[in-house]
């Protein structure tokens, strides 16, 4: 436990030191980023140790807070979440040092590094906490630290709006968690997690209510559709290394909370599995559809996080269905696929956000339609972004494929033998995953193709250049990790076994019922064969073209002699067939000024896809609520002596209530 506590201490102390040293950008960056990287690497060692088979480590120190105690534990499940948190935090810190440096002249670098290190420390604490009070405190500080990181550029109207949305959403989510922990604490008579798990069977109604509270509370953080509304606002507004951290690992703490909750609530009824699969399908399909319709690169990535949370939830749903039906193979494959996708998504979404940050850094715009042709100017960023795009589209031989393969294999196995009422949700998962895969390929060929390929569409690209080594190195490492996890599938999945045992509460072996070693070896062989055949066809091409005339010319545009950059397909036109097919959900707004007359002077066309849940769900509801609450406004008048009176009155009321 000592290395992790040291790591926490390093993170907090260097964060504070960066805040104190805020007058010197150099000192703040060195302390903040250096401390974050050092602390994270320090914590990575025990996390990897537990993941690779060391026994769980725990510590409990009594505490003055009622019901609270500083009890922490690193078991396999915590370690599985700690690994991406530490890895991505270290890499994003290095990246952030280079990314924030140019802004030192306009704004102090102390606060962002203080909040960054605080955010990392709290995420670590959230996944190792074993006491509800400690957990909630870490959870709240994590939300607040990320809030202050999001609103760094608070002079912009849209950033303040995004921060506000995020703050309200995360507070509401916490309200449900507070109710959840208060209730389960009252039932079990303790705030310690191990008492929750040892409580035994809850009554079905109670377990169901707790499950719903947990899904809403943790789902708000994870970004379940329709609770995702803060995600596409907050992620684009934050600096890119923070977006990577928030999207790559912070939203996964919601998944962690949900999985941990499942270990307390006892045997799951079928409707939990149905609920999780339904949430997974709606988040996955709608998330990728909205991603496809976005014109802002970072907003696109934020919606794609909703999609990937959907895939993870599908995996969890399949796993819960497996536990419900007593099918070990289904449970293992579903949970293994979901948990592996947690790690995978941290790798490739972190990579993609860092890549998007490099693009923003170089061009000053996030608008896809103003970019293009960046591959020639930023080859390293482009290659890394392409790796991430292929991985997130679930293509072999990258890591995304392995996770989705496990969920699909489980669903296929289950659908081929289980009775109809259990097989139907699995078939929905199969069809949904197939559609999500196809749409994700469309979305990310668009994101990569329009931004990096073809000719530059606008002025911003003209001066674009490759970022410095501090920004390049983290992207390289993440890209290599995406390939490595893809090729090391059998061993990576075997390393998940201890975490699966925590989730399922039963031993997990390899073989027919357990970890599917055979199919994973098959995937590995197919991937190696793929690499060999690609090398073979590259060699054939090279051999054939050697000594032959190879010339360069303009793009063949069906006889049109002078193709221009503005004639290229744009991001909007590329997505149009799919967005119009799914216009029921997307409700894309089009603003068109068509050419008129014999000699048209100009024309324009613009599309915008706003969030349907936000626009027609939450916004009207909150506006109505704010009108109602306006009546209470007279209570908030800003006179401090009356506020003190409120406090005194409350204390008197409490005293009377306690005595009476």
């Amino acid at each position: 436990m000592l290395p992790v506590l040291t790591s926490l201490a390093v993170l907090l102390v260097t964060g504070l030191a960066a805040l104190i040293a805020h007058r010197s950008p150099r000192a703040a960056t060195a302390l903040g980023a250096g401390g974050a990287a050092a602390g994270s690497l320090l914590g990575l060692v025990p996390a990897l140790g537990v993941l690779l088979g060391d026994p769980a480590i725990s510590l409990r120190v009594p505490w003055q807070v009622p019901g609270g105690a500083f009890s922490v534990e690193i078991d396999a499940l915590s370690a599985l979440f700690l690994f991406p948190i530490f890895l991505l935090s270290a890499l994003a810190a290095v990246y952030g040092a280079g990314y924030l440096w140019p802004s030192r002249t306009t704004r102090s670098l102390g606060p962002p590094w203080f909040f960054y290190n605080l955010l990392v420390a709290c995420m670590v604490l959230v996944v190792i906490a074993r006491n509800a009070v400690l957990f909630l405190m870490a959870w709240e500080v994590m939300a607040l630290a990320s809030f202050f990181l999001v609103i760094r550029e608070h002079e912009k109207e849209e950033v303040r709006e995004a921060g506000w949305t995020y703050l309200v959403a995360t507070r509401l989510g916490t309200a449900f968690l507070l109710a959840f922990f208060a209730w389960i604490g009252r039932e079990t008579g303790s705030m310690e997690f191990d008492r929750f798990s040892r409580h035994g069977v809850f009554s079905p109604a109670l377990a169901g209510s707790l499950f719903v509270l947990a899904v809403i509370g943790f789902g708000t953080k994870a970004g379940f559709m329709p609770l995702h509304v803060w995600l596409p606002e907050a992620h684009p507004a934050a600096p890119s290394h923070v977006s990577a951290l928030m999207s790559g690992v912070m939203i996964k703490t919601g998944i962690y909370g949900l999985v941990r909750t499942l270990t307390w609530l006892g045997p799951p009824p079928a409707w939990w599995a149905w609920t999780l699969i339904a949430i997974g399908l709606s988040s996955g399909i709608l998330g990728v559809l909205f991603a496809l319709a976005q014109n802002d690169l970072k907003r696109l990535l934020a919606y794609s996080s909703v999609e990937n949370i959907g895939i993870i939830t599908l995996g969890l749903g399949v796993g819960v269905l497996g536990i419900h039906t007593g099918s070990t193979t289904l449970a293992v494959l579903g949970f293994a696929g979901g948990l592996l996708h947690v790690v995978n998504h941290a790798l490739f979404k972190g990579l993609l956000f860092l890549g998007a940050g490099a693009v923003v850094h170089a061009t000053g715009t996030r608008e896809i339609d103003r970019l293009g042709g960046l591959l020639k100017r930023m080859p390293v960023t482009a290659a890394c972004f392409l790796t991430g795009a292929a991985a997130i589209s679930g293509l072999p031989p990258f890591n995304g494929f392995v996770g989705e393969f496990l969920i699909l294999l489980g669903s296929f196995r289950g659908a081929s033998v289980l009775p109809a009422e259990t097989a139907v949700p699995l078939l929905a998962a199969i069809a949904g995953l197939a559609l999500i895969g196809g749409l994700a390929a469309a979305c990310f060929s668009r994101a990569f193709g329009i931004v990096f390929l073809g000719e530059a569409r606008g002025e911003p690209v003209a001066h674009a250049h490759e970022p410095g080594p501090a920004l390049r190195a983290p992207m390289w490492i993440l890209a290599v990790a995406c390939v490595a996890v893809g090729l090391l599938g059998p061993w990576v999945v075997r390393a998940l076994a201890p975490a699966l045992e925590v989730v399922m509460g039963t031993p997990v072996a390899s073989g027919e019922e357990g970890i599917p070693t055979g199919p994973l070896l098959g995937v590995l062989l197919a991937s190696l064969l793929l690499l060999a055949t690609v090398a073979l066809s590259a060699a054939i091409r090279r051999f054939l073209l050697a000594g032959r005339p190879v010339t360069e010319s303009v793009t063949w545009d069906c006889g049109y002699a002078r193709p221009g950059a503005r004639m290229q397909y744009t991001a909007s036109s590329y997505a149009q067939p799919l967005t119009s097919l799914f216009s029921v959900f997307l409700r894309t707004r089009r603003v068109a000024a068509l050419p008129e007359g014999i000699f048209p002077s100009g024309a324009s066309f613009a599309t915008e896809t706003r969030d349907v849940c936000r626009e027609s769900g939450f916004r009207p509801a909150f506006e109505r609520l704010s009108r109602v609450l306006w009546a209470m406004r007279w209570l908030q008048h800003g006179r401090v002596h009356l506020y003190v009176l409120y406090i005194a009155l409350t204390l008197v009321v409490l005293l009377v209530w306690k005595l009476g």
Binding site: R413, A434, A442, G454, A538, Y574
Partner: protein, 303 residues
């Protein structure tokens, strides 16, 4: 692993261009022409392989990598598909998912290579390709799931072996419906009528052919050969469902499957001769219809 397992990929590699020859000959006969010899596609490939290449100045390494990775994916996929009762060299539980993944990889690189040219035509083709393939994917997966349900197996070899023991004529219509759904996916994925017209790259039919407009010489040969392999592999899935052959029945099984492939090619040629291409707005309906057929096959498989 027996040495005969190397035969399915070898057969695919050798005979896949022949299917194109058969399709073109059928179409020629329908049009009242004698048509090119059946081995014409081989000559076309050899001719392209002997040429140099022209590249657009807009393009990058990605454009050159597109055909290479595309063909590589198809070559790897050919090791996954059994043929005529002969098991594939790579047969494992879930191999059908890897097959779908390899097809998706080939599509991803082709689409990106098309976008690399900066041509609006190729962008249009890429956009349509990703739309139709996204809609074809559920039909493919549900069709495969119905076969998994019917046979209780999750690998291609086991599915075909089990189907051969209970051919669809006895066991009900589920495999037949799934085969029809897969046949629609086969036509859509291989850019055949009624989804796309392989003979033209006019604006109205701009899907697959238009994406490869800028490729020339050996690159184009790699693309054409990859497309022929894809035609063969998806075709042998359809034939495997309609004419399932159990293990150990070679060489009669191989002959039967080979005959089935020729018949499928003739049928494709007939469809191309007697049908017009669907309007682009209608294509999604066809693909969703294929998905509905797959779902129906699933319902039947549960009964």
């Amino acid at each position: 692993m027996s040495p005969t397992c190397l035969l399915p990929p070898v057969i695919a590699l050798v005979f896949s261009p022949l299917l194109l020859g058969v399709i073109n000959r059928t179409k020629a006969r329908f049009a009242g022409r004698a048509g090119a010899p059946l081995h014409q596609p081989y000559h076309d490939l050899l001719k392209l392989l002997r040429k140099g290449a022209v590249y657009s100045r807009t393009t990058t390494w990605l454009f050159r990598a597109g055909p290479v990775v595309g063909l590589g994916a198809m070559l790897a996929a050919s090791a996954l598909v059994p043929f005529g009762g002969l098991g594939a060299p790579l047969a494992f539980e879930g191999d059908l998912l890897v097959l779908a993944g390899l097809l998706a990889l080939a599509r991803f690189v082709t689409v990106n290579a098309a976008l690399d040219t900066g041509s609006s035509f190729e962008g249009m083709g890429a956009s349509r390709e990703v739309q139709f393939s996204a809609l074809a994917e559920p039909a493919l997966f549900l069709g495969l799931a119905s076969m998994a349900r019917e046979t209780g197996a999750v690998s291609l070899g086991a599915i075909f072996a089990s189907l051969s023991a209970h051919p669809w004529a006895e066991s009900g219509l589920a495999p037949l419906l799934a085969a029809v759904a897969l046949a629609i996916v086969f036509l859509a994925e291989n850019a055949r009528i009624p989804v796309d017209d392989p003979n033209t790259h006019l604006e109205l039919t701009m899907i697959h052919e238009v994406m490869v407009l800028d490729h020339s010489g050996p690159d184009f040969a790699l693309i054409q050969y990859g497309a022929a392999l894809k035609l063969w592999l998806l075709g042998s899935l359809v034939v495997g469902m309609l004419l399932p052959v159990g293990p150990g029945s070679a060489p009669a099984g191989v002959a039967l499957a080979g005959g089935g492939m020729i018949a499928l090619a003739v049928l494709t040629g007939v469809v191309e001769s007697v049908m017009a291409r669907l309007r682009l707005l209608r294509v999604p309906q066809l693909l969703v219809g294929a998905g509905a057929l797959s779902s129906l096959a699933l319902v039947l498989a549960f009964v």
